[in-house]
């Protein structure tokens, strides 16, 4: 099996999980340096007719739609789920990145999220996102004050371990990545008052994704080790429990070159005693007019939040990048 994995994924796999990342990280750093040096060395005025044009570090060399979009916590994925693809249009010798703003409105709440995500050499993804969760009039009913906001910062990192979601079309082997999201809720005293054990924590996730190109289908599933209450906006852990393994998955259908239709499902812990927490889901359409603009519109059902009943509504995300 190990031999098979190696031959199937070309030169991008090392010899065992442990040293894959070390090996390739070293190579990535060397590559970064050599690209930087190459940039310095490239003459600025013209080049000999026979020599290849200089490589463009920001050349957006990936195929349209193949990196997915930015999900609600800032990682490469779809609406609610992380994918194994490294975000941005940079290939193994390029850097990609994008900024996004996401707006979600449900019966009683609104969520805004803004962030940046970069992909380095199709190996490492780094992201930063800030979320603002506005309780609106529900804040008054909950005794927090009308318009009370729960906010959090999310710093994410994801490394591709093995597999090629796009090109390994002759095998079921998916692309697999390991990710972490450090989350820090800003209303520490309030989230503790509602029962959370902490106001910051790290989610760990292992995600596997595959594009089934002959069916124009993308499938992705991830296991997430987390104790985040409502994605972390209501703190971490609580009277009903601590870390648990949760699932998030997506199916997306490539309708045409510029439109993708999909759905996500995500399970969440239920650690707080004062209010029940449900699973979340979303069904979306993504419009990709170019590699630089991506618009995601979704219908979402986030389940019951903070005693205000089931929260259903709309999700809109704009992403600009390369």
């Amino acid at each position: 099996m190990r031999m098979m994995a190696i031959s199937l994924t070309h030169d991008q796999v090392g010899l065992g999980m442990g040293n894959i990342t070390n090996f390739n990280m070293g190579r990535t750093v060397r590559r970064a340096l050599s690209v930087a040096l190459a940039f310095l060395a490239v003459p600025t005025i013209g080049h000999a007719d026979d020599s290849p044009p200089p490589e463009n570090l920001f050349g957006s060399g990936k195929i349209l739609a193949t990196p997915g979009v930015i999900q609600v916590e800032g990682a490469g994925g779809s609406g609610l789920s992380t994918w194994a693809m490294i975000s941005g249009y940079g290939t193994n010798r390029q850097v990609g990145g994008s900024a996004h703003h996401t707006f979600v409105t449900t019966n009683d709440f609104t969520l805004n999220a803004t962030g940046v995500t970069i992909g380095l050499f199709d190996r490492l993804e780094l992201s930063f996102t800030r979320q603002w969760f506005d309780t609106g009039s529900a804040g008054g009913r909950l005794g927090l004050g009308e318009g009370f906001k729960f906010n959090q910062d999310i710093v994410g990192a994801k490394v591709r371990l093995f597999g090629d979601a796009v090109y390994a079309q002759d095998t079921w082997l998916p692309q697999v990545s390991l990710g972490a999201q450090y989350k820090k809720a800003d209303k520490g005293a309030t989230v503790r008052a509602v029962g959370a054990a902490d106001d910051d924590d790290i989610d760990l996730y292992l995600t596997a994704s595959k594009i089934l190109l002959d069916k124009s289908l993308v499938l992705s599933g991830a296991a997430r080790l987390t104790r985040a209450n409502q994605f972390g906006l209501l703190g971490f852990g609580g009277p009903n429990g601590g870390r648990s393994l949760q699932f998030e998955g997506s199916a997306a259908y490539l309708l045409s070159r510029h439109f993708v239709l999909g759905a996500d499902y995500r399970t969440k812990p239920d650690n707080l005693a004062f209010a029940e927490e449900d699973d979340a889901m979303a069904a979306y359409v993504v419009w990709l007019p170019s590699k630089h603009i991506t618009v995601t519109a979704a219908y979402t059902d986030l389940g019951k939040i903070a005693l205000q009943g089931r929260q259903r509504g709309f999700y809109l995300s704009l992403q600009l990048g390369f």
Partner: protein, 138 residues
């Protein structure tokens, strides 16, 4: 739940529409269509600055003929590719993933111009995609 079930239905219809009975070769429009979009692909490849430098020493007409045979055969058509294998024919060219992807985009453009349906294009690309292992060197 309604939008979810509508979506599920849309996915189901989307997945079941391509008539599996017809071969990909037919869905690509047969040999005439394949020949036209392959010639267009080669034109694009030889002029696009992202790929042109890799084809400076390649005979354009011969490459186009070989590619027509290869795409025709790969899609189940009545042709036989007689060129050397992908590994040998690309050895030491130092082709990058970005260059390979640029050629994929040129093929998509050529098929679009020929009116090949998007899902048939993807079925052809699914067959060609694993060649990346033998073609991309860095």
């Amino acid at each position: 739940m309604k939008p979810i079930s509508t979506l599920a239905l849309a996915l189901f219809i989307g997945l079941s529409t391509p008539a599996q009975a017809a071969s990909l070769f037919d869905d690509l429009g047969g040999l005439e269509s394949i020949t036209r979009f392959t010639n267009r692909l080669v034109d694009l490849t030889f002029t696009d600055p992202r790929t042109a430098h890799q084809f400076k020493h390649t005979k354009k007409e011969r490459l186009a003929r070989l590619l027509v045979d290869q795409l025709c055969e790969a899609s189940g058509g009545p042709c036989r590719y007689k060129g050397v294998n992908m590994k040998k024919s690309h050895i030491k060219l130092g082709i990058t993933e970005a260059e390979f992807n640029a050629l994929v985009e040129q093929l998509q453009q050529a098929m679009d111009e020929e009116g090949v349906p998007f899902h048939a294009q993807n079925r052809l690309l699914a067959i060609l995609a694993p060649m990346k292992r033998d073609i991309v060197e860095r």
